[in-house]
């Protein structure tokens, strides 16, 4: 079944989030000018310890500057899923979107 997104209970799913650093910036050329579509940031979670958490903020949120390991929280977070395959096996990649990221 398809779902548009799921909204996580942030406290139970991620616990405390710390800023780790900036990730990729997605840009596209629109009318000959490079326009930012979204920015991603890496976070550390004390519950999801396996990978770091990658959050994608839309361009409207602007650029974010935090100290390394500074505590942050996300505004209106939602999770979508995408698939990828290795050999003949499929795996799920979760993608976390948020409207904004602020100091906790």
């Amino acid at each position: 079944m398809e779902l548009k997104y799921v909204i996580p209970n942030m406290e139970k799913t991620f616990g405390n989030l710390e800023y780790a650093g900036e990730g990729k910036v997605e840009q596209r050329r629109i009318n000959g000018r490079m326009t930012t579509l979204s920015r991603s940031y890496n976070l550390y979670s004390d519950i999801q310890r396996a990978d770091d958490i990658e959050v994608i903020l839309s361009q409207e949120a602007g650029e974010k500057f935090f100290e390394h390991e500074e505590k942050v929280k996300l505004v209106n977070a939602r999770i979508t899923a995408e698939g990828y395959k290795i050999g003949e096996r499929g795996f799920t990649k979760y993608i976390l979107h948020a409207d904004d990221m602020v100091k906790a």
């Binding site: 799921v6 139970k12 799913t13 899923a81 698939g83 990828y84 795996f91 979760y94």
Partner: protein, 126 residues
């Protein structure tokens, strides 16, 4: 990212108002020789979700008796867990969400007051 500890979902924000639609299927246990037995393992119901804007399917274990609510009766999920399965296709992989819950009750009538500390199991990728 993998979210190995699972996702604890906010059911109100994710599904919004849920309305009962129908029993979709009964999943039967398999005998040792691989044939299908008469014992029901779980039942899947179709529910109308306002936030998702579509029908969602939710599986309830067979230890809970069959639910026969009226069409459009407002219902509530008890401890829902959402997870995904990924299937490799010829060019990538498709992801399907599935939802399991401990119980399905009429809204405002919390039958089983299970603890609200539902946790998803680790990702069971196929």
């Amino acid at each position: 990212m993998r979210l190995a500890q699972g996702i604890v979902i906010d059911k109100e924000k994710t599904f919004g108002l849920l309305k009962f639609s129908a029993l979709r299927r009964e999943v039967f246990l398999q005998n040792e020789d691989g044939t299908v037995s008469n014992e029901v393992k779980e039942r899947t119901y179709d529910l109308k979700s306002r936030e998702q804007g579509r029908m969602i399917q939710v599986s309830i274990p067979a230890s809970v008796p069959l639910k026969e609510f009226d069409y459009n009766a407002e219902v509530e999920l008890i401890n829902p867990v959402a997870d995904t399965v990924a299937n490799a296709t010829f060019r990538g992989a498709d992801v399907d969400w599935y939802i399991k819950a401990d119980d399905l009750v009429l809204r405002g009538k919390t039958g089983t007051t299970g603890s609200n500390t539902s946790k998803t199991t680790s990702t069971k990728d196929k």
